[in-house]
């Protein structure tokens, strides 16, 4: 019955209580939302590459290698010679190896040269393979397979011609050798969606007349002649490696890192990601901290609201006291009200978050390539909500203690 009366008391002050609950709900939604985006972003990063044991590139930082080879963020400082690549490929431990050659672009999208093995071995989101629909894989020298975002952004369909630009954000076009869209990769939620994939030989072919990063003036080798040439690349940007047995990963990694002919670096994608999180972690902590402060602000608002209601409720407390309620009951009543408000706020916040998530998910995916999962609330969220409710109880102790003292002083004889 006391619980029912507490509910009744809240209902009787529906407007102020409603606003307070709304403030708590918004703050909880923000807090959980930040948490959701944070874990979503991590999961999305972690989902981008799976099944690859080592990534090999020229010696730089492991995070940098990871970023430019898998996420197409930043650039390689150096290349890996074809000779080194072949030495690695020849190792016993190596099950498969896929070369990657980056450097050119098409509009705002990067062009990646690779071998058909890429489509076989690149796996994302726990082992899913790429699917080319519609169209087919790389067949002809001038075939290109494009990611879903490339197709959507530029309106390409299979068999459309595309021209690759030299370098990134450059005005020099490889317009003498146009490509054909051979296939479009179904949406993956990874950087592959924003990549134009061609064969390694094609990368070599469009640079036939180029030296030291510039086109030789007046030279233009006819396409027919290029097709007859040996288009084995001299260097690649990086390579993805799968080993036969996971136990061999570290041995192979050491061998590559100590490769005498050229300074190379091999990293385990998982470890490199860990390193990345350590860097990003600070910003994440700041974000979580800010959203936690918003929750604290909402709870402070609630405390202020309870404080300001105390005066007009002295009469009510006198009634409770006259009926035999100990001052402790008054204190408990106010804490109970705060807990009810916080619980309502937390639940409403959760509902808000899931509602907003359901609506905004496709938009977030389109804008940031971030697919947030709509999982049921996990243990983490529940703990978060419990923490909010606990903090509310704690915060309400301040006005509750004041009410306790007031009711001791007033007794049951308040004249208002």
């Amino acid at each position: 019955m006391i619980l029912r009366l507490a509910f009744g008391s809240l209902r009787a002050r529906a407007l102020t209580v409603g606003l307070t609950v709304l403030a708590i709900a918004l703050s909880v939604a923000l807090f959980l939302g930040v948490e959701k985006v944070r874990t979503g972003a991590r999961a999305s990063f972690a989902d981008t590459i799976s099944g690859t044991d080592l990534i090999v590139g020229a010696r730089s930082g492991s995070v940098q290698l990871m970023l430019y080879s898998v996420f197409r963020i930043g650039n390689a400082t150096n290349n890996v010679t074809w000779q080194s690549y072949q030495d690695i490929a020849a190792r016993d431990e190596v099950d498969w190896i896929v070369p990657i050659s980056l450097g050119d672009s098409h509009r705002q999208f990067r062009v990646m040269g690779t071998t058909p093995a890429f489509f076989e071995h690149y796996k994302y989101r726990g082992g899913r393979a790429l699917q080319i629909t519609p169209g087919a894989g790389l067949d002809d020298l001038y075939d290109a397979v494009i990611g879903a975002d490339v197709a959507a952004a530029l309106g390409y369909a299979v068999d459309d011609p595309i021209v690759v630009s030299h370098g990134l954000a450059s005005f020099t076009e490889h317009d003498d050798q146009p490509f054909r869209v051979a296939g479009i990769i179904a949406k993956t939620g990874t950087p592959v969606d924003r990549t134009v994939i061609v064969s390694l030989q094609a990368i070599e072919a469009i640079h036939v007349d180029w030296q030291s990063g510039a086109q030789q003036p007046g030279q233009s080798t006819p396409v027919e002649q290029i097709r007859q040439m040996d288009l084995t690349p001299k260097a690649i940007t990086a390579a993805m490696v799968g080993v036969k047995s996971r136990l061999q990963v570290f041995a192979l990694q050491r061998w590559i890192n100590e490769y005498p002919e050229e300074p190379l670096l091999a990293v385990l994608p998982g470890l490199a990601l860990q390193e990345l999180w350590q860097i990003v972690g600070l910003a994440e902590t700041a974000l979580v901290g800010v959203s936690a402060m918003v929750v604290v602000t909402a709870l402070l608002g609630m405390t202020a609201m309870i404080f300001s209601s105390l005066n007009e409720r002295r009469r009510e407390m006198a009634i409770w006291r006259a009926m035999g309620a100990r001052p402790g009951v008054i204190l408990g009543l106010l804490v109970l009200e705060a807990v009810l408000m916080a619980a309502l706020g937390a639940l409403l916040g959760m509902a808000l978050l899931y509602g907003a998530l359901a609506l905004a998910r496709p938009l977030i995916d389109a804008a940031f390539g971030l697919w947030l999962p709509l999982d049921p609330p996990g243990l983490r969220e529940l703990w978060g909500m419990l923490a909010v409710i606990g903090a509310a109880a704690l915060a309400s102790l301040l006005p509750a203690l004041r009410a306790y003292r007031l009711s001791l002083a007033d007794g049951m004889m308040v004249r208002i």
Binding site: M1, L5, G8
Partner: protein, 237 residues
């Protein structure tokens, strides 16, 4: 009926009571001797601000005297700790205020049953408390079906009658009323007092009412003036 079955134990017995609100407030209340017998109805007359409320607070165990003895139904309140005094009040005393007696957000039934939450023995005495609340409402002339409606919607007269029902539920041996009629018009007053006396007699409770209104006097067994039983001092402010 409650524990002390001795019918000669007074409902209220104050002896040599001295009370002051803190040292500097300048207000003090001395009651050499004041008694209310069981089932007796006593009207205590005094102007507002004359210390009536302080006296009621002493009797209800909300405040404690610095010296002297306050005994209610044979129990010396000074021997009880604060929590036990609150429980004692819930068990033994029905309180009716001048006005604003009810929690406006609770139903009429909630309000009537409220003291029983803090008084398990009184709850037991009441038996089927909900049915008892219904009977009391009926006896007090409240429309049936009122039990479920929110107390805040009732007229002042109805609210005061609900307050009487709340004071009487579980038959506490003492009813304390602080100017319960001052918010009512003359006609309603008379009707209200009739019902109050009738039900208090039925419950077998003693009634101590404080008021400034001498016209109420004829109904009571005994009428006293506050200044006759108490010496009150206040600093010239």
């Amino acid at each position: 009926m409650p524990e002390s079955s001795d019918l000669h134990t007074p409902a209220i017995d104050l002896t040599g009571v001295e009370f002051h609100w803190g040292r500097r407030s300048g207000f003090s209340l001395d009651v050499p001797r004041f008694q209310v017998a069981r089932r007796e109805s006593v009207l205590l007359l005094g102007q507002s601000g004359s210390g009536k409320s302080t006296l009621l607070s002493l009797i209800c165990g909300i405040v404690t005297a610095q010296s002297g003895k306050v005994t209610v139904g044979g129990t010396d309140l000074a021997t009880l700790r604060a929590g036990a005094r609150d429980r004692f009040r819930a068990e033994q005393i029905g309180v009716i205020f001048q006005q604003f007696n009810l929690l406006p957000y609770g139903s009429v039934a909630d309000n009537i049953l409220l003291p029983l939450n803090f008084a398990p023995e009184r709850r037991q005495r009441a038996g089927d408390a909900h049915a008892k609340a219904g009977h009391l409402c009926q006896a007090l002339g409240l429309p049936s079906g009122l039990l479920a409606s929110p107390a805040g919607r009732l007229s002042v007269g109805q609210q005061q009658r609900v307050a009487v029902a709340r004071a009487l539920i579980g038959n506490p041996p003492l009813i304390v009323a602080d100017e319960p009629t001052s918010a009512l018009d003359a006609a309603t007053q008379d009707n209200f007092l009739g019902l109050l006396f009738e039900q208090t007699a039925e419950a077998g409770s003693a009634l101590l009412m404080v008021s400034h209104d001498e016209r109420l006097a004829p109904r009571f067994d005994r009428v006293l003036r506050l200044e006759d039983i108490a010496r009150i001092e206040r600093a010239a402010a």
